[in-house]
């Protein structure tokens, strides 16, 4: 899974634009009204390369809210939008492991 940052834009299904919030690095998604959200269900979902390119271009033009924007696949499960691969699932939900804080003394 080459880093999406290194991939050429290619759309094989429904997609969103995602990035990391500048101030804290948190995962965010681009909305249809040109803002950012940390809820994937509120993300703008595109299905063509043209639409994805336009959404990405607008996201990248952002200077200070989010960084390293790229197009990521999603799956549409009924009325839910869910990440399209493990990498994106981990970005949304966090590490698949129990965080070490829980085994402090």
């Amino acid at each position: 899974m080459t880093s999406p940052l290194q991939q050429k834009l290619r759309i094989t299904g429904p997609s969103v634009v995602t990035a990391n919030r500048l101030r804290d690095g948190a995962v965010v998604y681009r909305t249809a009204d040109s803002t950012w959200t940390n809820e994937i269900g509120e993300a703008a979902v595109v299905t063509t390369a043209e639409a994805a390119s336009a959404l990405l271009a607008a996201a990248k033009a952002e200077g200070t809210r989010a960084v390293d924007a790229y197009v990521a696949p999603v799956l549409i499960d009924g009325d839910r939008v869910v990440p399209g691969n493990l990498r994106e699932l981990i970005r949304l939900r966090g590490p698949t492991i129990e965080l070490p804080i829980t085994f402090g003394i």
Binding site: M1, S3, L5, N20, L22, R23, D24, G25, A26, V27, G63, T64, V67, D68, N85, L86, R87, I90, R91, G94, P95, T96, I97, L99, P100, I101, F103, G104, I105
Partner: protein
């Protein structure tokens, strides 16, 4: 411990102020991300999957208890209460906020800690044997030479924009605990036939997409020439290293393309012009640096005190003593390894509470000194043998006394896809599952020394190619698969492992490793023949046949 001087303190203070201004300008948009990225990387700040990551250098793996407490404070105040010790003797914080980073690095700087040169195309943190200065088999304390290099190469203007990153390791003992052969430049202290101490210099080691072991280009280098020769190597690399192709930019590719012999000749030519110049080492300078390494005032004690003999009656203590405690150069003292590989937990992780507790324990039992090893464990380097029973109880209480050092569950693993933006597959859950499978310490001891290394991508931060068993995560059609290799090692007999066959899916990795281990048990010539010895003797085929017979 090494005592930093006023130059170091000034340098760190200036860097904190500089970075604070850079972050402020980035947050207001005055700096673009393209402009800012290289500036944050120069301070060890990466953007990972779900947060920024700060990598803090631990020069030659030596920490004071004061510094460890400060790391705990940073983990608690700016992160999520833990840190991750890496294969390059660094520590990483995974959840740092950019807006809070200047305050975090200011807090670190106040304790002499920083992230400078832990990223970017420069000379990275210089690593060494975690037992340096106390190992019975060492020629000298390797840290003196690592510190000399640190001073010379920190913010060296000529080498701040190398073709690619440059990693140096220094070893001084017969047994290589610093994995010198997998470094861009390796230094091993040597004694020549006349008894003079100097250095063997090797270049071009490195793992990743195109792994190579370092080749010796200078069998014996005199001490006075230490800096000038290494300067010549770096100059040659800086001039001829490939800047046009990131996959060919490491010095290993230059050495491979030119050939080690030709590379050595070119270094000699460059060196001849500078060896008698300003970089010729004055022994007084070396002595001054050596004098800043303060060794504890050891008490006159005997080996094997009665307290130790009596405590052996406790089988758990005896198991730990036999596994995690090693001989010290000073009579009556011991070197103690703290396992950061508890069953079912992420390798190398340490909570703030554990750091604070270890700092307190180090103050009480190890003259306030802690070491970080490339195997992602910690070490208390100066423990009186008579203190081992209470020390063990204290370490056991905080979960760092698992007697699995060097055994099958002492797994080296990178953060993998759970954290890293470069990863293809997860590494930590694989390590966790394997450590659960081998939680029976009697079985682990019966297997003997066995190193499993796991990397979540071909960049090989888990050093899988030099694991006795190496596991590399790859991606196939969106699924996690793992290539398995055997026969690698990173010690003085370093070699790269060989693939045993096609990659296996995530769900089967632990079963495959069990098959490999059972094959070893069937094939080993005697109970004390190590896995790596059996693998070298019989080759890959028997393991391959067993693993793929039913797959």
């Amino acid at each position: 411990m090494y005592a930093y001087d006023e130059y170091d303190r000034t340098l760190l203070a200036e860097r904190v102020n500089e970075f604070r201004g850079q972050v402020a300008r980035r947050l207001t948009g005055e700096l673009t991300e393209d402009e800012f990225r290289s500036l944050r990387l120069m301070n060890g700040v990466y953007l990972q999957l779900h947060a920024y990551m700060l990598r803090v250098a631990v020069p030659y793996g030596t920490l004071s208890s004061h510094q460890l407490r400060r790391l705990a404070q940073v983990a608690r105040r700016y992160d999520r209460g833990y840190g991750h010790f890496t294969t390059r003797q660094n520590i990483q914080f995974n959840w740092i906020k950019l807006a809070e980073l200047p305050d975090a690095i200011a807090d670190l700087a106040a304790a002499g800690l920083h992230g400078m040169q832990t990223s970017g195309n420069c000379v990275r943190n210089i690593t060494t044997d975690q037992w340096a200065g106390v190992a019975p088999d060492e020629i000298e304390d390797a840290r003196v030479w690592a510190e000399l290099l640190r001073q010379h190469l920190t913010l060296h203007p000529e080498f701040s924009f190398l073709p690619r990153k440059f990693k140096i390791a220094v070893g001084a003992a017969h047994h290589d605990r610093a994995a010198v052969a997998i470094h861009d430049l390796g230094v091993r202290l040597r004694r020549n036939s006349g008894g003079e101490v100097g250095f063997e210099i090797s270049v071009g080691g490195g793992l990743g997409r195109t792994p190579f072991l370092a080749k010796v280009i200078k069998p014996f280098l005199k001490k006075r020439d230490f800096l000038s020769y290494i300067e010549a190597v770096l100059r040659l690399y800086n001039q001829y290293g490939r800047r046009d192709n990131i996959y060919k930019a490491r010095i290993k590719m230059l050495v491979h393309d030119l050939g080690a012999e030709k590379f050595a000749q070119e270094v000699e030519a460059e060196w001849s012009a500078i060896r008698d110049g300003a970089l010729a080492l004055d022994p007084a300078v070396v002595a001054e640096i050596a004098a800043r390494f303060r060794y504890p005032g050891y008490a006159p004690l005997d080996d094997n005190p009665p307290e130790l003999t009596a405590a052996r009656a406790d089988a758990r203590f005896a198991a730990w003593l036999d596994n995690a405690v090693h001989n010290h150069k000073q009579t009556g003292y011991a070197i103690v390894t703290l396992s950061l590989k508890p069953v079912g937990k992420p390798p190398g992780d340490c909570t703030a509470e554990q750091m604070d507790a270890i700092a307190e324990i180090a103050d009480r039992y190890s003259f306030g000194e802690i070491r970080v090893g490339h195997e992602q464990n910690l070490v208390l380097p100066h423990v009186a043998q008579r203190d081992l029973p209470p020390l063990w109880r204290a370490l056991d209480k905080i979960g760092v006394a698992t007697p699995n050092v060097g055994l099958v569950s002492d797994i080296i693993a990178c953060p993998g896809l759970d954290y890293c933006s470069l990863a293809n597959a997860r590494a930590i859950p694989v390590a966790q599952e394997l450590s659960r499978r081998y939680r029976d310490l009697d079985l682990a001891r019966a297997l003997g020394r066995l190193h499993i290394n796991i990397s979540g991508c071909i960049n090989a931060c888990g050093q899988h190619q030099v694991g006795h068993i190496g596991i590399l995560g790859v991606e196939k059609n969106g699924e996690e698969f793992y290539q398995i290799s055997i026969g690698g090692r990173a010690d003085e007999h370093a070699r790269l492992g060989a693939l045993i066959g096609p990659a296996v899916p995530y769900e089967e990795v632990a079963d495959v490793i069990e098959d490999i281990v059972e094959t070893y048990l069937d094939l080993r010539a005697r109970p004390d023949e190590m896995f790596i010895e059996t693998a070298e003797r019989v080759g890959v085929e028997p393991f391959k046949e067993r693993v793929y017979a039913t797959r």
